[in-house]
């Protein structure tokens, strides 16, 4: 690399370092519908000292995205560089704007890194173990990459659809309490939709609240509320990577595109610090192992052997204010009155929690038949690894 890369080098280099740490470039199946392709070209042109081309492409970029602040900053640099040498990204913006420029630099790095190191086609987020047939799509967020990935449910296998730049909490992720300006990490779903007309301009073209805090969060004593996926103000194309009070913020056009695929109360939204990717083979293995455990639990329940049933429940199990001992005692009592039990499960979904807390949220329709009682319920279980074995730590009907 020539020594002439100058003020924007910092951005490009940072982006490339990110790329090396990331994954191999996949075939071009990504939508690339955002400003990233042009942005990447502009930085390449600058790196090659093709100022004129870079400037022209910046103008095209701004034509397509008139409120793209990062684009305007680059334009300012390219213009100012014709009058004097520049040493720093956004140097002409003035000293007072240092923080804003740092934010835009972060945005440039995040966008370029996500663009240059896309996940390969053969890899899927580890969290999407099993989507229900009625869940047409799933959303997976990577806060560190400032990226949201949309997956389609292709007969249970997640297929990549699109990815979008996002902003998250000013103080990062792993929300614990109200007002901590952090984005929660976990498995959630879209609960409702608030249309543009009912919102201040600040939220842009709409908002989709998610169910933070979920049962797990509450169990951990986490609180706060009002975590939404939402858009940007009308004069702002995008916000810096870390700029929200905990919400996940998308460009309005992206939110609109995403909204078409969101099913209220249904579409999973999984927010991670940094997505763990699995090859399809490994994903399949993990999925089958857990499905086998669930099936074992079902058969052990049918066996009426309370010890076999009980070994599927974790030490810290708690549900509906019952601890493990109470739960098992009650089950033992119920079982005593039965000649037989038949349990079938259907419409199974399994989503692994991202991050430190290793658990999988499993939901299914349970058809329970027995010698003296039949019922159908929508069941939810949290499975954790205890002593190397998957066990249930929470169970309830929803």
């Amino acid at each position: 690399m020539k020594k002439s890369t100058g003020f924007l080098l910092g951005v490009v280099a940072a982006a490339l370092i990110g790329a090396e740490a990331g994954l191999a470039a996949p075939p071009a199946r990504y939508t690339d519908s955002g400003p990233e392709p042009l942005l990447a070209r502009i930085f390449e042109q600058i790196d090659q000292n093709s100022w004129e081309t870079a400037y022209r492409e910046t103008e095209s970029l701004l034509k397509a995205y008139p409120n793209f602040r990062l684009g305007h900053l680059i334009k300012g640099d390219l213009l100012l560089a014709r009058t004097r040498p520049l040493n720093r990204f956004g140097e002409g913006g003035g000293k007072e704007a240092g923080e804003q420029i740092a934010d835009l630099r972060e945005e440039a790095i995040a966008r370029l890194r996500a663009y240059k190191s896309k996940p390969a086609e053969t890899q899927v987020p580890r969290y999407l173990l099993q989507m229900r047939p009625d869940q047409k799509h799933a959303v997976v967020v990577d806060t560190q990459r400032a990226r949201l990935y949309l997956y389609q449910n292709d007969n249970g296998t997640p297929r990549f659809v699109a990815d979008y730049y996002i902003a998250h909490g000013k103080l990062g992720a792993e929300k614990i309490k109200e007002g901590d300006k952090k984005t929660p990490i976990g498995v959630y779903h879209v609960t409702s939709s608030i249309p543009r007309q009912k919102l201040p301009d600040f939220y842009g073209s709409g908002a989709f609240p998610i169910n933070y805090p979920n049962e797990w969060d509450k169990k951990q004593g986490r609180n706060g509320y009002g975590i939404w996926l939402h858009g940007t103000p009308s004069d702002t194309f995008s916000r810096p990577p870390k700029s929200s009070d905990g919400c996940v913020v998308l460009a309005n056009t992206d939110l609109d595109a995403l909204a078409k695929n969101l099913q209220l109360g249904t579409t999973p939204v999984i927010i991670s610090n940094s997505i763990e990717w699995l090859s399809l083979d490994n994903w399949q293995a993990e999925r089958q192992a857990l499905l086998a455990m669930i099936d074992e639990w079902r058969r052990d329940w049918e066996s009426l052997d309370i010890e076999r049933y009980a070994r599927h429940y974790a030490r810290d199990f708690a549900s509906d204010r019952k601890d493990r001992a109470t739960w098992i005692a009650q089950k033992r009592k119920v079982n005593a009155g039965k000649q037989w039990i038949k349990v079938t499960t259907g419409n199974v979904s399994m989503f692994r929690n991202p991050g430190k807390d290793e658990y999988v949220v499993v939901t299914f329709e349970q058809d329970y038949q027995s010698s003296n009682l039949n019922n159908r319920t929508q069941k939810r279980q949290y499975w954790i690894k205890e002593d190397g074995r998957w066990k249930i730590v929470h169970e309830d009907a929803v």
Binding site: G6, W51, L73, K75, L78, L79, T83, P85, A97
Partner: protein
């Protein structure tokens, strides 16, 4: 006052203007130069726009295609503040004589006054396409780039760039002399030529376009033939003794002293003394409130860093005993840039003190 944050201005342009004065003076003594065109030019300099227009029209009646005549007409329109006519005149010239850089430059100056910076940039880039070493166009283009950059930063950072987008003052070219390869230098050949198209010959084959633009330098010096030679600092001519002719010399002396003290206060960043020279009914630029204006000036004048504000020859026009207009060329020098502009002050004498009522950059 159109902002003291004076803009980078071509010293070369100043040279050019000065040279033009020399040429014009020479021309006056040459019989070959006499004629309606020279008269028109003189009238323009004397501020007699209507007469100048009349004369130039007469000249053009005989030689409708004459570039110099049409160029002068454009200048007259500019002087009359008929921007639309001036644009049309210069634009037509660029179409008929695309090899001449001056009409492009002047077109750009007017566009810039109208804050149409993109158009101004295009025109200047055109001028440089045929004359890559054209200093004035380079300087003007640099100014336009800064202005566009300010606008872009304003949008990027959501900061108020209205300051930065204050009306710009670029260097207008006053004669078709810049077609020589050395841009600023006066072509002696320009002197004999009422037919003028001699000066309009495509001076130099256009250089490759990459050279036609100032090479942007980002964190490295870029050597380029296209770069104008470093403008040599032009020593500010020591102010000649005010034409100590007649009675009002006394008042002129007072005014000169007041202006010099005002400039000294400015240079020394003595904000209080500087502001003290502004009358209470001073017309602030953009009709800002006095308070806002003072705050802005305090910030700008008091900004750390060495500055030096000085003036050239002072022309004072008295109207009565307590009103006057003073015009001079003002030079501004700081560590980061230097600039010069024509300044006119409307002065009023109150309580024995001359004060500024209005301040123009022209």
């Amino acid at each position: 006052m159109q902002s003291q944050s004076v803009y980078p201005f071509a010293e070369r342009a100043r040279l050019l203007l000065q040279s033009f004065a020399v040429v014009a003076a020479l021309a006056g003594s040459l019989p070959a130069q006499a004629g309606p065109l020279e008269d028109a030019s003189q009238s323009l300099k004397a501020g007699q726009h209507a007469k100048a227009l009349d004369l130039v029209n007469k000249h053009l009646a005989g030689q409708p295609k004459d570039a110099r005549g049409r160029f002068l007409k454009g200048l007259i329109f500019t002087g009359m503040n008929r921007q639309g006519d001036a644009i049309a005149t210069f634009k037509k010239l660029t179409e008929d004589y695309p090899e001449l850089p001056e009409p492009y430059n002047n077109l750009a100056v007017i566009y810039a006054q109208q804050k149409q910076y993109d158009k101004a940039r295009d025109a200047l880039e055109q001028a440089l396409r045929t004359h890559p070493a054209y200093a004035t166009a380079h300087e003007n283009l640099g100014d336009i780039y800064s202005r566009l950059a300010s606008q872009a930063y304003g949008k990027a950072l959501q900061i108020d760039s209205s300051n930065a987008s204050a009306q710009t003052k670029l260097a207008m070219i006053n004669d078709l002399v810049g077609t020589d390869k050395s841009a600023g230098a006066v072509a002696p050949a320009a002197a004999p030529a009422p037919t003028v198209l001699a000066g309009a010959k495509p001076a130099e084959p256009a250089k490759p376009t990459e050279l036609a633009k100032p090479a942007p330098t980002i964190a490295k010096p870029v050597a380029s033939d296209a770069k104008p030679a470093e403008p040599k600092p032009v020593p500010v001519p020591a102010s000649p003794p005010a034409s100590a002719a007649a009675e009002p010399a006394n008042l002129e002396g007072e005014i000169t002293a007041a202006i010099d003290d005002w400039l000294a206060a400015w240079s020394k960043k003595d904000v209080k003394r500087y502001l003290g020279y502004y009358a209470r009914d001073f017309t602030t630029p953009g009709k800002a409130s006095r308070k806002d204006w003072e705050a802005e000036r305090t910030l700008k004048v008091g900004k750390p860093g060495k500055i030096e504000v000085s003036r050239g020859k002072l022309t004072v026009k008295l109207s009565g005993q307590d009103k006057a207009t003073a015009s001079f060329r003002q030079s501004y020098l700081s560590t980061s840039f230097k600039a010069s502009s024509n300044k006119t002050l409307q002065l009023v004498k109150r309580d024995g003190k001359w004060q500024i009522q209005q301040e123009f950059v022209n």
